[in-house]
């Protein structure tokens, strides 16, 4: 779905003005996390939604980016901010290697391979203590006490990611990615090297996911293998963001990111303290129910099925 220029301007202005309008560190924090998920969700969607290669292992790239930033401090003695520059490229190299191995497999077999590789990365990060500090994790000192620098950096990174993905999707590469998704054999007969273009898609995807990881290290100032290489909190969450927002749409993952992060926070805080504490334990159940609902009624996600949602709304208005 192409988006109206004025709507886009409105969105940008809203995000620039938000911390001024809402001077609450709590909401700024939630927005920062959601913006980070815009990067991860959009990256996952480029690979899975547009190129048809479903990854269950995006934590690999997130963790690699985060550890790149963390290791800048512990091993190189330089600022974790170098991770913002290095996290993307290092993750891209990891992506290139994983593609070289896993793209020999098609469809569900590729997805299974990414789960396996993801777990390998997590276990290596736990056990290779001399390099990663193991489960003690990496703790750094936050550069800024205010949320604002992180917020605006998050906005900038998310905007960069959306711009890049938009450019890619409406180019030769985008057409090639979708062709591979629709029919790999047909694509090959049209002069498309499926291996080369799947690798390209994975490289772009891993670059922005790694960038998000490096951003996370700088912002949260603490990582350990269970946090950043987590199967369900990172890899599966990336898939949920894509599915809820709309797989194979440009604007689906950003919308999905905000829906998922707000939902997660609502449950984590037991509906902002309105309900007893055990409610916070049930957020996984709630995600499950949401996925069932979306797959049953909005199979293309909130953005993919937007015309359907709008029709529902206008029809009700016509009756009343």
């Amino acid at each position: 779905m192409r988006i109206n220029r004025w709507v886009l301007l409105g969105i940008v202005l809203f995000f620039l003005a938000f911390p001024v309008l809402v001077p609450s560190d709590y909401y700024r924090h939630i927005f920062i996390i959601a913006l980070m998920w815009v990067l991860i969700g959009s990256s996952w969607n480029l690979l899975a939604g547009f190129t048809g290669q479903v990854s269950f292992g995006h934590a690999i790239f997130f963790g690699t980016g985060a550890y790149t930033a963390g290791l800048c401090v512990t091993k190189l003695g330089i600022s974790a901010w170098w991770g913002i520059l290095l996290g993307g490229p290092v993750s891209t190299l990891v992506g290139l290697f994983i593609g070289w191995v896993c793209f020999r497999l098609r469809g569900p077999y590729f997805a299974l391979a990414t789960i396996a590789v993801g777990e390998i990365f997590r276990l290596v990060a736990i056990d290779w203590r001399s390099f990663t500090e193991g489960m003690e994790g990496i703790l750094i000192i936050q550069t800024f006490r205010s949320k604002l620098p992180y917020y605006y950096l998050g906005v900038a990174l998310a905007a960069l990611c959306m711009f890049a993905i938009h450019r890619v999707v409406y180019s030769k590469w985008g057409y090639y990615f979708v062709a591979i998704r629709e029919d790999q054999d047909a694509a090959e007969s049209m002069g498309i090297s499926a291996f080369r273009y799947k690798s390209l898609s994975l490289m772009i995807s891993s670059f922005f996911t790694g960038l998000a990881g490096a951003f996370y290290m700088n912002y949260m100032a603490f990582i350990d293998p269970h946090v950043v290489f987590n199967l369900h909190d990172i890899s599966i969450m990336a898939i949920l963001v894509g599915i809820i927002g709309g797989v194979g749409t440009i604007w689906g993952p950003p919308v999905g990111a905000f829906i998922m992060v707000f939902l997660q926070e609502t449950f984590r805080s037991s509906f902002f303290g309105l309900f007893p504490r055990w409610v916070s334990e049930s957020h996984v159940l709630a995600f499950g129910l949401l996925v069932i609902f979306v797959i049953r009624y909005l199979a293309n996600g909130v953005i993919g099925d937007w015309p359907k949602i709008r029709r529902l709304w206008t029809r009700e208005k016509a009756y009343s």
Partner: protein, 237 residues
Amino acid sequence: MAYFQTEHLTKNFGGLIAVNDLSFQVEQGQIFGLIGPNGSGKTTVFNLITGYYPQTSGTMRFKGSTIDGLPTWKVCKLGIGRTFQVVKPLRRMTVLENVMTSAFNRRQSMQAAREKALEVLEFCELSKKLDYPAKGLTIGDRKRLEIARALATEPELILLDETMAGLTPQEQREGVELIRRVRDTGKTIIIVEHIMHVIMNLCDRILCINYGQEIALGTPAEVANNQAVIEAYLGKE
């Protein structure tokens, strides 16, 4: 040196010999027919030429250089386009997007690919359905889309795999007309087809195979009157 030729082309699938010692030559600008009963190995020949799987032995040459062992997409880059017998539309793309994707084979920019795609779609008489999703097309239009997509890669040699099967007589007549027009643009065509009046009308030379082996090679009239061909199709008296 022939424009396109195979020498002793052989393909075994385990114990089954799908293509057996097949040698033929195609001259530039010809329409070359490949016929034979069901399961005689026609589509396998196409799959060997386009590199979907490697041949067991033998060689294939296109414009003097070998194409043995090349991956499918490189064969396309060299200038050999193909259609699929079981059509493979890119279902969730529109007709225009399908053909544009092919056009990117020789053109880099969106604008150039779009121009080429529109030109090819005009040529294939699909211009009225540019924005249809490919999955919504009738079988006749899907076959046309296959041809359009092959043409948009700007090939010199086109392999057409049963592009008339399942079409009405009217659509078949239009299809024959379309293939003639493709030939008139200077392209060379190898066509696999079961419908005899189509093949007899179109082809300059015909190779008939059975069990992967050559049983007749010649002009349409020669092949149609060949005793071995008649037996392969109708059985012995």
